[in-house]
């Protein structure tokens, strides 16, 4: 019989709009599988859960202050805490979080210096290298839902819900994992109920044009497509983030009612060489506090002078799209994480995880900091990882 492990679940104290915590049902399972669980006071309150909700689901759940939670032998939190809080972790603690080893070398070094083991949720992968813990579908669906909400207001006569209007023309740039979800989401207005409602009333649907990254930068092809685009989705994964896919000048070709949906959420960063820019020039970057931007929003003015914002359309952009619907998001993450945590608990801790063991053991082993060989990662992998690091 392995010894029961103790898991502290910390809250995320990022922007005000960050409301996500693991659901009571997930927490209850951690206890049922044999672990002891300590939740930070206020856990789940952003989604309307009281401490009673967690204790009703599982009476053995305890609550404590943040400091005590961070002192547990395992600490589970979706988004990685800031460095100042990482320093509160005790040597020997295992931090289970989105740690993004490939793009956060300083964080890796800090955790190693603190003698903290990591299990990076974004590095839990199957035998084919496919991520087991991810929510790219929500990135696409939540972004498109927000985009169509805006389009329903901006769409000209005869109106978005009119049976006399033409099919909506959506254009998706990039056909990677997010792009493919985006095509599905766009064809259903980003919301199944709305799709069903409009379809039942005979309102023409959405015609989605998908353009691969390689073709998206061809001016003569894209500008013709943009001139007939109601909703433009950036789901590109650029190998070179110093170059725009859509320069600001091209936005002028889009109808004035058009909406831009930013799913790639690459930031502007002019402090590095070469500078990093967003895929579409001149759009602001949003977060859970604000993700809808009218063309006259002050956020456009606050962009760097290096960025042209001359041509503007309505924009929806969010650093954490899955967080728009926190319960759905955490239910999804909980379902994906359940077998991982069960295996970890059953084995009595990460030190007993066999890298050549069964499926989930192998997956966990790949995500441990102690096995991460950062220096051996190719530039390609670093690039790919960066492009998905902003989507939890």
């Amino acid at each position: 019989m392995n010894q029961a492990i103790t898991i502290g679940l910390a809250r995320m104290h990022m922007e005000v709009g960050e409301r996500r915590d693991f659901l009571p049902s997930f927490v209850a399972r951690l206890v049922r599988h044999g672990s002891k669980v300590v939740l930070e006071h206020g856990y789940g309150s952003g989604m309307g859960f009281a401490e009673d909700d967690y204790q009703t689901a599982q009476s053995n759940v305890q609550f404590a202050g943040r400091e005590e939670v961070l002192e547990q032998e395992y600490v589970l939190v979706l988004r990685c805490p800031p460095d100042s809080e990482l320093k509160q972790l005790r040597a020997g603690t295992t931090l289970i979080s989105m740690l993004h080893y490939p793009t956060r070398p300083e964080r890796v070094e800090l955790l190693r210096s603190l003698k903290v083991e990591g299990i990076s949720l974004d590095s839990i992968k199957d035998d084919n290298g496919k991520r087991i813990i991810e929510n790219l579908k929500s990135v696409a669906w939540n972004g498109l839902e927000a985009g169509f909400q805006v389009l329903s207001r901006t769409y000209p006569t005869p109106g978005f819900e009119s049976g006399d209007r033409a099919p909506i023309h959506a254009t998706v740039l990039g056909v990677g994992a997010v792009g493919m979800h985006a095509v599905q989401a766009a064809s259903r207005y980003g919301k199944l109920q709305l799709w069903q409602s409009l379809a039942s009333r005979g309102v023409p649907g959405v015609q989605v044009t998908a353009v691969d990254y390689d073709v998206a930068s061809r001016e003569h092809i894209l500008r013709e497509i943009l001139s007939n685009t109601d909703i433009l989705v950036d789901a590109t994964q650029r190998p070179d983030t110093s170059r725009y896919v859509i320069p600001n000048e091209w936005i002028a070709d889009m109808p004035s009612h058009a909406v831009i949906v930013d799913l790639s959420v690459d930031p502007y960063n002019f402090d590095v060489t070469p500078p990093e820019v967003k895929g579409i020039e001149g759009i602001p970057q949003g977060n859970l506090d604000q993700y809808v931007f009218e063309p006259n929003d002050p956020a456009f003015e606050s962009l760097s002078n290096f960025v042209s914002t001359t041509n503007r359309r309505h924009v929806v952009s969010c650093y954490s799209w899955p967080g728009i619907h926190p319960r759905d998001c955490m239910e999804s993450y909980g379902n994906q994480l359940r077998p991982i945590m069960r295996k970890l608990i059953e084995k009595g801790g990460v030190q007993n995880i066999n890298p050549k063991g069964l499926y989930f053991e192998r997956a966990i082993a790949r995500a441990t900091l102690s096995r991460w060989q950062g220096t051996e990662q190719s530039e390609f992998i670093k690039t790919k990882s960066r492009e998905t690091s902003n989507k939890e």
Binding site: N128, P167, V208
Partner: protein, 385 residues
């Protein structure tokens, strides 16, 4: 509760073009789980494998006759055995195959009568109902690859005469349709696309539409007139009606290629009859999956009562993943490995919905679970092996 100690791998007796067998690495994986693996004599020979490729000095790997392979504790064969072959399966044997319970009621009856403990690969599903042993990506990619191959014969290096991007119209926005979009924008082959783009080619643009646009003749006319490739990736609610009536095919340019990924059959002797999504196209298999408009087999494969006067080059295959057999079986093996581990550990009778993630998924695919489920809610499902 008995745990399986022997696993048989009989060959598939399908069309000559069916070359898929489980690969030596998978056989070794199973043998190393501590069970005896019985491989039918000649297994893999169509793909150039010998028994020694499977054996690799592993004492747990044994050659056997076909009948023996079906008599072991577990028998694994990708496509379902023919009805008469079920007689070869020993009562109580666990038969793992693509059995398609929802659309094969007579097969289900045979399995029950013969006391076969069936596990249907297409019914292995996670807690959200998503299939865990599937190759829909290969359905889309192999189909689109064949279509672009055809088009490339007309347009070398896939360069249109007007240098514009190739226009691919995709009907259906489900899982296969989703993969079709990616395959279409990569010209059905990543390598070909890389070369094409490096040569400053214009690539392809995919237009994806659902049923509420596909049902509008006016919109469809303008879309089809511009399409170089038309892809049927639909999952129809009513299989008695085509999505694209044959007259609409006349709207396609003469050079256009139709890609059939839906692979619904013509079944005119059932009520209501089942017709293909694109009216008047033939259904292919691994022996022939490319049909020019002049192909003599067209009239043999399309019932006379189905309108088919408008024809374009069509690519259609009942088993698209089998076009690239090794890649396909490598893919299936990786999906199957954790389930084989569970089955050997728990046995058929030990599987339950209370178990681990993979155990729950495997339990859902058992015949007993299907019978319980079917009593409460009938299903329908796409068949793509």
């Amino acid at each position: 509760m008995s745990l399986p100690r022997s696993i048989g791998f009989p060959r598939m007796k399908n069309e000559p073009g069916e070359k898929r067998v489980f690969l030596p690495e998978f056989i070794q994986f199973i043998a190393n789980l501590g069970v005896k693996v019985y491989v039918e004599e000649g297994y893999g020979s169509r793909s150039g494998y010998t028994f020694n490729d499977y054996k690799r000095s592993n004492s747990n790997v044994i050659m056997c006759r076909r009948e023996e392979a079906f008599q072991k504790d577990v028998a694994v064969v990708l496509r379902s055995p023919k009805p008469d072959e079920f007689q070869l399966v020993k009562r109580g044997t666990v038969l793992i195959s693509m059995l398609h319970y929802p659309t094969r009621p007579s097969r289900v009856e045979s399995l029950k009568e013969l006391g076969i403990n069936a596990i249907s690969l297409d019914s292995i599903a996670d807690d959200r109902g998503l299939r865990m042993v599937e190759n829909m990506k290969a359905v889309a990619w192999n189909g689109l690859e064949a279509a672009f191959d055809s088009l490339e014969k007309l347009w070398p290096d896939l360069v249109r005469p007007d240098k514009k991007p190739i226009n691919v119209l995709i009907l259906g926005t489900g899982m296969v349709g989703k993969h079709a979009i990616e395959a279409a924008t990569k010209l059905g082959s990543v390598e070909r696309n890389n070369d094409h783009i490096a040569s400053n080619g214009s690539g392809a643009v995919a237009v994806s539409i659902g049923r509420n646009i596909a049902s509008n003749a006016g919109t469809m006319k303008s879309l089809m007139e511009q399409a170089d490739i038309l892809v049927d990736a639909t999952q129809r609610r009513d299989a008695s009606k085509p999505v694209v009536p044959n007259t609409w095919i006349g709207w396609l340019p003469k050079h256009a290629v139709i890609v059939d990924l839906a692979v619904d059959p013509y079944l005119l002797d059932v009520d209501p009859p089942v017709v293909r999504g694109v009216e008047g196209i033939p259904q292919g298999n691994l022996d022939q999956y490319v049909f020019s408009a002049e192909d003599p087999n067209w009239d043999k494969l399309v019932p006379a009562s189905i309108p088919s006067q408008h024809r374009r080059t069509t690519v259609s295959c009942y088993s698209w993943p089998g076009v690239h057999p090794e890649a396909c079986m490598n893919h299936y093996a990786q999906q199957l490995e954790p389930f084989m581990e569970v089955l050997i550990e728990k046995g058929y009778d030990g599987l339950s919905l209370e178990g681990t993630f993979f155990e729950r998924a495997l339990y859902r695919a058992t015949l007993k679970a299907w019978m319980l489920e079917e009593m409460s809610s009938p299903h329908s499902a796409r068949e793509t092996d």
